[in-house]
């Protein structure tokens, strides 16, 4: 069943990317190549995709995902201006270091989403994740060195949304 879902998904992506309709006629070669490629993807990689795929059909989670998007993009844009300021400033005001934060998220896809959000937001880059829920973050401008303070400043604003979406 999961293989079928991933087969259909990858075939749809293939269709969007190649669009095999030329002058109103369907290019059979492209469709066959797409079927073969999606079959390979579905067979090889169905175990690598998240186990929690039921979350993508729950309307409440999709609602929170839609709410999260503007928050996320605001942070991404703020991050870009932050990097711009630090890169263009003649004295280069950076104070880098690697800090450790604790997350309360449990599921794999939740932690992945948190790590990716942290990477794309101001001044922080995820370096490693441990099994017991700690993340090592490279911070371009270290403001707090202990675990609680760093967690509060880096992760808290995303964790709330991500728990609503993924857990």
């Amino acid at each position: 069943m999961r293989r079928l879902i991933y087969f259909v998904l990858s075939f749809v992506v293939w269709l969007i990317l190649t669009w095999p309709v030329v002058d109103g006629r369907i290019d059979v070669q492209v469709v066959i190549a797409g079927l073969a490629a999606s079959a390979v993807v579905a067979i090889l990689f169905h175990e690598m995709l998240p186990k929690e795929h039921h979350i993508f059909v729950s309307p409440i989670r999709i609602f929170w995902l839609v709410v999260y998007m503007p928050v996320f993009f605001y942070s991404v844009i703020a991050a870009n201006f932050d990097v711009m300021y630090r890169a263009l400033h003649p004295k280069m005001p950076i104070r880098p270091g690697i800090v450790k934060i604790k997350t309360k998220l449990k599921t794999d896809s939740g932690i992945t989403a948190l790590a990716n959000s942290i990477t794309l937001t101001p001044g922080t880059l995820t370096v490693d994740v441990t099994d017991d829920g700690y993340l090592y973050i490279h911070w371009i401008n270290v403001k707090a060195e202990d675990v609680e303070q760093a967690t509060k400043q880096i992760a808290e604003r995303f964790e709330w949304f991500i728990r609503k979406i993924f857990e």
């Binding site: 990716n116 370096v127 490279h138």
Partner: protein, 117 residues
């Protein structure tokens, strides 16, 4: 009208890519450079693709550009983690003015423990 908005988006995207590259050249070590590379280049490239989508309005190219933008948004930070972890594992040092390195400290503790045991 669509053309104008699209070109503005593409220009902003190229500007952010430029700032990212300036950061890439100026920052002192791998980890700081990765910060510049992931953030600016991700948003810059996404803005380029959205600009293309706006210009081509409801054309096919727009759909392709949006799909590519989503892929970049997911894969770019993941690749950055892989590079950062790989760099650390192969012993690339932090910049000598870095204030703190929890990761290195705890790695050292672990190796000390295993050596004692």
């Amino acid at each position: 009208m669509n053309d104008v908005i699209g070109y503005i988006l593409i220009s902003i995207g190229i500007l952010f890519n430029l700032f990212g590259c300036i950061g890439l050249v100026r920052f002192p070590d791998v980890y700081n450079r990765l910060q510049a590379a992931t953030k600016c280049v991700t948003l810059g490239t996404i803005l380029l693709l959205v600009g293309v989508a706006v210009i081509s309005a409801n054309g096919l190219m727009g759909a392709k550009a949006i799909v590519c933008a989503v892929f970049i948004l997911i894969t770019s930070p993941t690749a950055a983690h892989a590079i950062a972890k790989g760099a650390y594992a192969s012993g690339v040092p932090l910049w000598d003015k870095s204030v703190i390195d929890k990761y290195g400290e705890e790695k050292k503790d672990e190796t000390a423990k295993t050596q004692r045991a």
